[in-house]
């Protein structure tokens, strides 16, 4: 197998406006993010020969990437749209890296946006996201998206003694990061008590255990390590990547408490020649707080079952030993659905460029990013670094 380690780099990154953006639809936001990312990379759109997107829920188009290329009047030789839920971003990045190494394209833009807040009613948004459930054997029983993750949370609590307080600490930490990020949708400080006192949505998940419903988009520009040095910003290199896909429907999961993040991270660590202790920060998919706790365990930051005590003792907020979701995550920065982890990616690029301003993690040289889609179904782990070797 060809190792991708150090072979490709991220040379441009941009977020659109996020939160509530009523004046642009999902595809317009996507185009906006692409143009901003090209400006950040200092290149013209005609230099792009690869485009990968993810369809939106609020304004879907049958051939999304082709339609976006047409909108932008770019004519790539590599163009497709992918969809694997929240795991899409990093999975796409894996494909893009492979495409660059094999010569399918030289400069690839990855972009996605959606408007779950302004483009859909609250009810539509709830229903379209919960359609991840099995249409014959799950959906009839009325599971909402929080309910799927609540099943995971209860199983972890029963098996390992994890407490609602542990989940709440994750929401508090993400909010503490968001307070330092002026683009974040939610910036009022919260406490563990606030989380526990917020409305119960699906036991044991409270309102503040759940990610936001937002509009927003982001885009990145990627090229080979050789070309990357000619761009205005220091290139951020892909050091490791791996994927794991264990199921789609939660009732078919091999385990409710251990995910395929184990497999994806094992490959990423092996490729990078690094381990969890080498990471100065981690951006972990936080659609609901229990996801982060399972990921900390499955990615090897602590032992299985010890996620709760790990969060309490080590700390994942701005002052913790392992800052997690330095932009505020899906819980407090923004969550427009499938594009959600794009913001973890752009944030990581800024952290590794050392341009994250007030929320800069000191000596940030290597970071881990993890996203999952479905209901803890499809997992991709990335390791990014300032240096190619």
């Amino acid at each position: 197998m060809i190792s991708l380690r150090g072979k490709v780099a991220l040379v441009g990154a941009a977020d659109s406006r996020v939160g509530i953006v009523p004046d642009l639809d999902a595809n317009e936001l996507c185009a906006d993010a692409i143009l901003l990312s090209l400006a950040d990379a200092g290149i013209d759109k005609d230099q792009v020969d690869g485009l990968i997107t993810c369809n939106s829920m609020s304004k879907p188009m049958l051939y999304h990437a082709e339609a976006m290329a047409e909108y932008l009047q770019i004519f790539p030789r590599y163009c497709f749209a992918a969809g694997a839920g929240g795991g899409t971003t990093f999975s796409i990045l894996h494909h893009a890296a492979s495409a660059i190494v094999t010569g399918m394209a030289d400069i690839i833009v990855i972009a996605m946006a959606d408007c779950l807040s302004s483009g859909l009613s609250r009810e539509q948004s709830l229903l379209v996201q919960s359609s991840t459930g099995h249409p014959q054997f799950e959906q009839p029983y009325g599971p909402t998206v929080p309910a799927y993750y609540a099943l995971i949370a209860h199983a972890h609590m029963a098996k390992f003694g994890t407490l609602p307080e542990h989940f709440a600490e994750i929401a508090v930490a993400c909010r503490a990061h968001a307070i330092q990020n002026k683009t974040a949708q939610m910036r009022d400080p919260i406490t563990v008590e606030d989380v526990l006192n917020s409305r119960m949505i699906a036991d044991p998940l409270h309102l503040l255990d759940c990610s936001l419903v937002s509009d927003g988009g982001a885009a990145i520009v990627m090229t080979s390590a050789e070309r990357a040095v000619d761009f205005p910003h220091p290139p951020i290199y892909l050091l490791g990547v791996g994927e794991g896909h264990s199921h789609e429907h939660i009732s078919q999961a091999k385990s409710l408490t251990t995910s395929a993040a184990r497999e994806s991270s094992k490959q990423a660590y092996a490729m990078a020649g690094l381990g969890p202790k080498d990471m100065q920060f981690a951006q972990l998919y936080d659609c609901f707080t229990p996801t982060v706790l399972l990921e900390l365990e499955d990615l090897g930051f602590c032992k299985k079952g010890e996620g709760g005590p790990f969060i309490s003792s080590v700390g994942i907020g701005p002052d913790g030993s392992l800052p997690v979701n330095t932009h505020g995550g899906l819980l407090s920065h923004c969550h427009p659905g499938n594009p959600g982890s794009m913001f973890a990616l752009t944030e990581s690029i800024w952290q590794l460029r050392h341009s994250a301003g007030k929320r800069q993690v000191s000596n940030a040289n290597v970071g881990l990013l993890h996203a999952q889609g479905g209901i803890m179904s499809s997992h991709t782990t990335l390791i990014l670094g300032r240096d190619a070797s």
Binding site: H134, G142, P143, P146, L151, M157, S251
Partner: protein, 133 residues
Amino acid sequence: MNRIQPQVSGLSSEFFDGCNEGVLRLQHCKSCKAIQFYPRVFCKVCSGRNLDWVNASGKGNVASFTVVRKALTEGYKAPYIVALIDLKEGPRMMSNIVNCEPELVTVGVGVRVVFSAWSDTLSLPVFELSNEK
């Protein structure tokens, strides 16, 4: 507004016909004897294609559960319990736990199947607490 209705397909009709007759039916592999749910065109254990159906005991235990406080659609009346049930025969299925206070449900508790009308023509399996472990 109705609850979400499953679309009955050719392969799954044996399961849904069973529900209407008050029997929980599971797919059974004639080659390796594995019992599986949901129904597939092959045995997920030995990849054999020779499958028939067996009647399940309808007994199981709660693998996990949640109390949905904000309903999926107007067809559902919150609060309601969504659970994953480990059937005595092995397979896990999603269902509702009915006829009990949410506070009485715990991970591991014993349940037994009952059938609930989802439409004029279709019943689905749901579960009640049993006093068995």
